[in-house]
Amino acid sequence: MQASIQLPTDPKLQYLLRIGDACLILGQRLGEWCGHAPIVEEDIALSNMALDLIGQARGVLTLAGEQCLQDYDEDQLAFLRDERDYLNPTIVELERGDFAFTVLRNAIVATWLKLLWERLRDTSDAELAAIAGKALKEARYHQQHAADWAVRLGDGTEASRQRCEAALARLWLYTPELFEDDAVDAAAKASGLGPAASELREPWLAEMREILDAATLALPADTAFRSNGKRGVHSEHMGYILSEMQYLQRAFPGGAW
């Protein structure tokens, strides 16, 4: 059994992990569709997107390992942390759900990531800027793919519409977390590393409104509920996804192929 790695408290590391872990965990969740999507073309599309996200996570976690930690690489960061040291927003760890839930979560997260990558092209870190330039193209496609399906399902049959409304009502609870600032954001903004979370809220809301309007779905009302994944406090779904992800590296330390 491989012991967990311990992380220092470093705002740059935390900023990078919030991004890298969002990609890592959503990539793992989307991967659950492999072999199970409603049609084979969509099975391949979802797997492609999962791999795009894993690729983005690799870039960001490698960068975090190189710049903020001396001894850890992407694999150790991805697979050997304790739950509280994963800093992804809670929305990406929620269970796979049905196809409507998947599509709407992708629309929400891809729109957020697209706006984030857009701004990270101007980061003070040259390597992060290069990752952002590549990831932006992928995120644009993910957003368009999700928005197309949102229209088909939201403006589709009574059944597909009901599933979209149920999915959206649940997912919306977890969106405020994406745009809440704390000390990590203040440090990133001050150093020129990247935007504060709250800066993305207005443009994100404008694009989500457009997507949901086209899908004839109403924007859900805001609630007082707040999730805290990006500060390491996760939902009950996180432990299960981590145990599946970490099994191999824990059982066969350093295993590679």
């Binding site: 049609i39 073309e41 969509e42 599309a45 492609n48 793919h145 197309d148």
Partner: protein, 97 residues
């Protein structure tokens, strides 16, 4: 019969590997409309850097020759080697003709 009618229509997919080359037929897929057909063609047929452009065409829009007419249509060309442009050397700039 109803099941067949409710199926999404079939589309033929053509991919251009790089600028200057022609679009080549590479397969088919089922999709509800043109937009979905293009998206799926991208995801299914260009995953390994196969393309820089994709065409999709409804399969039922393609007019095909009858296999039964094969002898009549194509065999007469067999003994007309003089139609081949093998005696001309192409310049490099038109190499993909």
């Amino acid at each position: 019969m109803n099941d067949v009618k409710n199926e999404w229509p079939l589309w033929e997919v053509f991919v251009r590997t790089k600028a200057g080359l022609d679009h080549k037929h590479c397969g088919s897929l089922h999709a509800a409309d043109p937009k979905m057909a293009l998206q799926m063609a991208r995801d299914v047929y260009t995953r390994r850097q196969e393309g820089c452009s994709v065409w999709v065409v409804r399969s039922d829009q393609i007019v095909a020759s009858d296999p039964g007419d094969k002898d009549m249509l194509f065999d007469p060309a067999e003994d007309k080697v003089y139609r081949h442009p093998t005696f001309y050397k192409l310049p490099d700039s038109v190499d993909h003709m």
